[in-house]
Structures are given as C-alpha cells and as structure tokens.
C-alpha cells in the first residue's frame, strides 16, 4: 500500500468540535446521520447513528404469512430488489422443498444480474456526484433507464420488483425482453469503455481515490463486510461461488478482486462486476431452456416444517441472507435479515479515523450504502 500524499494527522488536539453529518446531508444519500468529532478538517471519530428510517421489517415478517411478507423484501434495499426477493423466496423454497423449474432459475439469474448492473450504475453516478462530478450521473441513469424499461416490461414495476414467487416466477419472459436484453448487453460494453476513458482514467479521479480509505482484509472480516468492499480488499468472497445457489454454477464468470483495499479498488471491482454480469446474462440467454416458470403443486398457504432455514444471495452490496425459524405455522416464528450495508457501515468508524472530511466522504461513497438496507 503506497503512502498517502498528505501527512497523517497522528495526534488530535484537545480542541475538537462535533459536526453532525446528516440526517439530511447531500453526501449520505438518505437519512444516515454520522456524528463526526472533528479536529479542524480531520476526523477524530466518526460515529454512525442509524435508525432514522427503521421500519421493523423483521418484526413485520413475524406477523405476516410468507406470501404477504414477500413484497416487503424488495423494499429493504430498493436498488437491488431482485436479490432480496430471491433470498426470501429461496429460503422458503429450501424449507418447503419446492423444486423450481430450470427456466425460472435461468430467468432469475438474468433479472438478478440486470438488477446488479442497474444498482452499480446508480452507485457509479452517486459516487461521482459525491466526488463533485455531476455529469456521469446522468449518463449512468440513461443506461439504467434501459434496464428499468426491460424489467418493467416483465415485472410491471420499475424499482421494487416482486417478480419471484415461491416455486418460480410471476410470469414468463416474452420475446421483447429477450431481444431487449441481448441488445442491452451489446450496448453496454462500449459504454463501459467510454466510462473507463472519460471517468476511470481521469487523473483527478485517480488522485482522489488511490490510496484513500484503505480497508484491510482483516478489518473486513472483523466487521463482516462483504461484497465489493471485501473484494476490493483482496478477498475473493462471493456468495455465488462460495455458497452456490440457483443455477450460478452453470456459468463462467470471474470474481474481480483488487488487493489494494482503497477506494479505487472498490471502484474498479464494481466496474468489473458490471462486465461479469453482462457475461453471465449472455450465457444465460444462450442456455435458456424452454418449459414452465412455476413449480406445480405449490400450496396456496405455505406452512414450513419446524426448523431453522437460511438462504444467502450475493446482492449488489454483498451477502444478503434470510434466516427463517418456523414452528409449523403459516407465519414464521422469526425472520432474520442479514443486510450487507449494515456490516459495511460498521467498519466506517475505524476506517475513517484520522481522515480528512472529503476523503471520509469518498470512503463512505465507496462503501455504497443504502440507508433503508442499514435500518431495515
């Protein structure tokens, strides 16, 4: 790891002041509050105060039937709703021993990866906005719009999808979607080259991100950080590989890993992940089998046998797991949602210590936090 270009602020003076970053602040992208103890422009302590948008999703899960709770899961991280519904649907299917038809699994992979790309595009725009570059946001949203249009065509919604059902999908994909997705993967690759030329290789951006906000692999493990954060610290941890689910083992894809651990590494991981998602989508479209998209004999009211069930997916921000404890009723005894943003945020206090305010905000942006995902 190279030495940062500024002199680290080793000893904090006694004259510190408290700066409330949020709950309404342009850089927190939501209602996160960070209580900063500042020494001049250096951060002596950064204490995240979540809870401003807590909606008790876990508690809601405990007094609803499984089908009633399903739409809630897409509201937890509204930017990667597909992955979240996938985890919940997967947990119920695993417990109820429902076999999902292969076509449904392939479509799940396609839509999940599309959702990952759209989520990363939002992050790309918002992160550049944090760094003071406004223009990339509009380009990223232009690309994302194409994904939203595609997904709207088959799911009916543009953001909080509830497309996966216990045993399959809400409906089958049509020819328009398949053609549109093929066109999109062909369209997106040159766009990524353009982003690389215009944004990634910009000297100002490189200077702002390289060797800024280093996070070691140990720190990631200590706080349970997953997703692009831990992959940017040199650990090839990806739920799609480590705990394979759905039909991911059928596809060839790489797990982008950058060992530097700085903001640039996390940036590059996400940009590379878009490429890998495009690869997966292309393969899934090629191999897409015919057949039904809904399992037969899925009971109308699902009652899970008593036990403890867990299903993890690789959401856009890391490992999202749903754990259901059932006591043989039609509503679960306990629903535990393991959200990646919460763990990714928890390392912020340690990682941001002694940083300057703009660097700390670059670090926060590189963690890609979604506030409702932190609070749930």
């Amino acid at each position: 790891m190279s030495i940062p270009s500024f002199i680290p602020h080793e000893k904090m003076s006694d004259e510190t002041f408290v700066l409330n970053l949020g709950p309404q602040h342009p850089a927190t992208h939501g209602v996160l509050r960070v209580k900063l103890t500042m020494d001049g422009e250096y951060i002596a302590r950064a204490e995240p105060v979540p809870g401003y948008i807590h909606r008790m999703h876990e508690k809601m899960g405990e007094n609803r039937t499984y089908a009633q709770f399903l739409p809630n899961t897409s509201r937890i991280d509204y930017l990667s709703a597909m992955h979240y519904t996938h985890a919940f649907v997967g947990a119920v299917e695993r417990a109820a021993r429902i076999t999902v038809p292969p076509r449904a699994e392939y479509v799940r992979v396609i839509t999940s990866e599309l959702n990952r790309i759209s989520s990363h595009l939002v992050w790309f725009g918002a992160f550049l906005l944090d760094l003071g570059g406004f223009t990339p946001l509009l380009y990223a949203f232009d690309d994302r719009e194409k994904i939203l249009d595609l997904l709207e065509g088959i799911t009916g919604s543009r953001l909080t999808y509830c497309y996966y059902r216990f045993g399959g999908l809400y409906n089958d994909v049509d020819a328009d979607f398949l053609k549109g997705t093929r066109d999109f993967t062909a369209y997106m690759r040159p766009r990524l080259d353009m982003y690389r030329a215009l944004v990634t290789d910009n000297i100002i951006l490189r200077k702002r991100l390289e060797s800024i906000g280093p996070i070691s692999a140990e720190m990631c493990r200590k706080y349970g950080a997953t997703g692009p954060v831990i992959r940017g610290s040199g650990v090839a941890y990806d739920v799609r590989r480590i705990e394979p689910y759905s039909v991911y083992p059928e596809f060839q894809f790489d797990i982008p890993v950058y060992p530097e651990g700085d903001c640039m590494a996390r940036y590059l991981v996400r940009m590379e992940e878009i490429v890998q998602s495009l690869r997966i989508i292309d393969q899934a479209l090629d191999q897409l089998p015919e057949g039904p998209v809904m399992a037969e004999k899925v009971p109308r009211v699902i009652k899970l046998p008593p036990g403890d069930y867990c299903y993890a997916v690789e959401a856009a921000r890391g490992r999202f797991a749903v754990r259901i404890v059932s006591d043989n009723k039609d509503i679960p005894y306990r629903v535990k949602l393991r959200a990646p943003s919460f763990s990714n945020l928890s390392l912020y206090e340690e990682a941001s210590q002694g940083m300057m305010l703009p660097d700390a905000l670059a670090l926060m942006g590189s963690l890609d936090l979604v506030i409702p995902d932190i609070d749930r």
């Binding site: 270009s5 550049l128 003071g132 570059g133 100002i204």
Partner: protein, 329 residues
C-alpha cells in the same frame, strides 16, 4: 466626442453595471443550458423561448424571498459580505479595455488595480462564512483563505513574467502591443519567453481556483459542505453570491483575454474592435463552464500540492527564464 467627463463616467458606470448584471444572469442560463447539453438533456425550456427568461424568473423568485439572518450570526458582517463580494468585480471592470476607446477609466496601473480589488473577493467569502456561525461555513471559509492565498502567488508570478515582456501595466497599452496577426499575441510571444503558453495555462488554472470554480470549488463543495460559506444565506443574499461568482469569472476571463489573447485586437489583423474582445472572453467563459461539467472535484490537499509543488516552481522558472531572455535579447 464632446461628452463631458462626469456624464461619460456616469454612462460607463451604468454600462458596467448593466453588463455585469446581464452577464451574471445570462451566464447562469448558459451554464444551465451548457450543462444540460453535456449531460444529454434539454435544460431550461419552459420560461420564454428556450428558457431565455429563466434567469429573470429566478431573480424575481430570489428577490421575493425573505433574507433570513440567523440569530446567532454576526448580523452586520453577514449583510456586508454579499456587498463586498459583488463590488470588487464592478471595480475591476472599470479598467478593462473592451475596445480601443471603450474603457471606463484608463489608468496606467490598471493591472495592479485589477489584482488589488480581485483579492477582496476572498475576504468577502471568508467574512460570509465566518459571520454565519455555521460549522460547514467556517470550514469553507478556512478553505477559501488557504486556497486563494496559495493560488494568488503563482498567479502574480505569472503576471510579473508577463509584465517583463510588456513593460507596462496599462491594460490598453498591453493590448495595443499585441496588434496584428494572432502570433503577435502575448500567448505566442515565444521570442520573449519560450514558455509563454505555459504561463497562460498557469494563469488559467489560478483563475479557476481564485473564482472557486470546479474542479477547485472547495468553498462550495456541495457534497461535503452542503453549500459551504453560503449555507446560511437565503433569498437575494445567496443570489448576490451566485451573481458575484459569474461576475468574477467574467473579470478573470477578461483579464486573461487582455493579457494573453490580444484583447480587442483582431486575430487576422483587420476589423479590430470590442466584438473580438467579447468573442475571446466568452470563449474562455465557455471553457470554464465546460471544465466544471467534465471533471470531478480535486482533493483539498491535492489542490494545495498542485499550487505549492507544481505551479509556484514552474511560474518561478518562467519568471527567471523571462528575465534571462530580457537580458540576452
């Protein structure tokens, strides 16, 4: 022309105020429209043809709003800061030669005056930030001071280099020396100093930093400091700061045009006149807008490093080179 001096001055005063007002309003429109084009969207379209009345609508909205002075703020300084930020820009334009005779007050140390009044801008933003008694505003005020002090030095070093070439501080005289084809511009006077284009680039970068424009907009880093020194300003208090930003860009680009790009001189040797001055100045203004919507913001210590480690040594070198060339030839 047989206009008496007081009336002439009054006319110029009105002219400059109108010029600044018009520019401040319509550069906002150009900026919004330009930004929209860079971002593949139409920009303002609703108010008037192509949104041309949008600045007037915005100004009316800001004027109709209450100017809120926070109870904890220093009320006098808080009100003084917007005035202080606007007036130096007007003063600087008084000595800028728009044309051969189109200059409000042609004084022989015009260049000194521009830089003397130009640095008041810093103090005004600092006062505004300090008087607000807001933590974000105070951080912004501290940033503005260290940034503008750091960039004043290479800027003045570059100007001294140029003064060695021109031998005069009279802005109109400097323009007259650049008569003829465009290779007579100070920018291309390579015989006097082979690094003249470099000095122009340094001057341009410093001008961006002095006017707090992206990628050096540390004072108003909206994703870090909300609105920086202007966080507590509402209504026209904010509007004046906003206008002053554009007025200062106009001043900075005018000075760059006069010093390096031949002012009102025609690049092809004939039909010299104010239109050339305006054309060159607005080209520079457009490039400023272009840069803002293309690059992300620099890091604060990166900004200071750029000044102290690169710009100041390079500008010192051009200064020395210029004096050696002056002695040799």
């Amino acid at each position: 022309m047989n206009i008496s001096e007081p009336i002439r001055l009054l006319l110029f005063l009105a002219g400059i105020m109108a010029f600044v007002g018009f520019n401040a309003a319509y550069l906002v429109w150009v900026e919004r429209k330009g930004a929209a084009r860079f971002q593949r969207r139409p920009g303002p379209t609703e108010v008037g043809f192509a949104g041309l009345l949008q600045p007037i609508a915005d100004a009316l909205k800001l004027l109709s709003k209450q100017v809120i002075v926070p109870p904890t703020s220093d009320a006098i300084l808080f009100r003084l800061a917007p005035v202080l930020v606007m007036s130096p820009a007007l003063m600087c334009l008084a000595v800028i030669p728009f044309g051969e005779t189109l200059v409000a007050r042609n004084i022989n140390i015009g260049l000194v005056m521009v830089f003397a009044f130009g640095s008041i801008n810093v103090m005004a933003i600092m006062l505004g930030g300090w008087a607000s008694r807001n933590k974000y505003a105070v951080i912004s005020a501290a940033r503005v001071v260290s940034q503008d002090v750091a960039y004043e030095i290479p800027m003045l070093l570059v100007v001294i280099t140029l003064l060695m070439v021109t031998g005069t501080m009279d802005l109109n005289q400097i323009v007259r020396q650049q008569a003829g084809w465009f290779w007579h511009w100070n920018l291309f006077k390579l015989t006097a100093n082979p690094l003249m284009p470099v000095t122009f680039v340094i001057f341009y970068i410093c001008m961006l930093a002095e006017t707090n424009r992206a990628p050096f907009d540390m004072a108003e880093a909206e994703s870090e400091l909300v609105a920086g020194a202007f966080t507590e300003y509402a209504g026209m208090g904010f509007g004046v700061f906003f206008m002053a930003e554009y007025a200062n860009i106009v001043v900075g680009c005018s000075v760059a045009t006069v010093l390096f790009l031949g002012g009102w001189q025609s690049p092809i040797g004939v039909w010299s006149g104010p239109w050339w001055f305006l054309l060159k100045m607005y080209f520079l203004v457009f490039s400023v807008i272009w840069i803002r919507w293309t690059f992300p913001r620099t890091q604060f210590y990166g900004l200071l490093n750029l000044s102290w480690k690169i710009l100041i040594p390079v500008s010192l070198f051009t200064l020395v080179l210029s004096s050696i060339m002056l002695k040799l030839f």
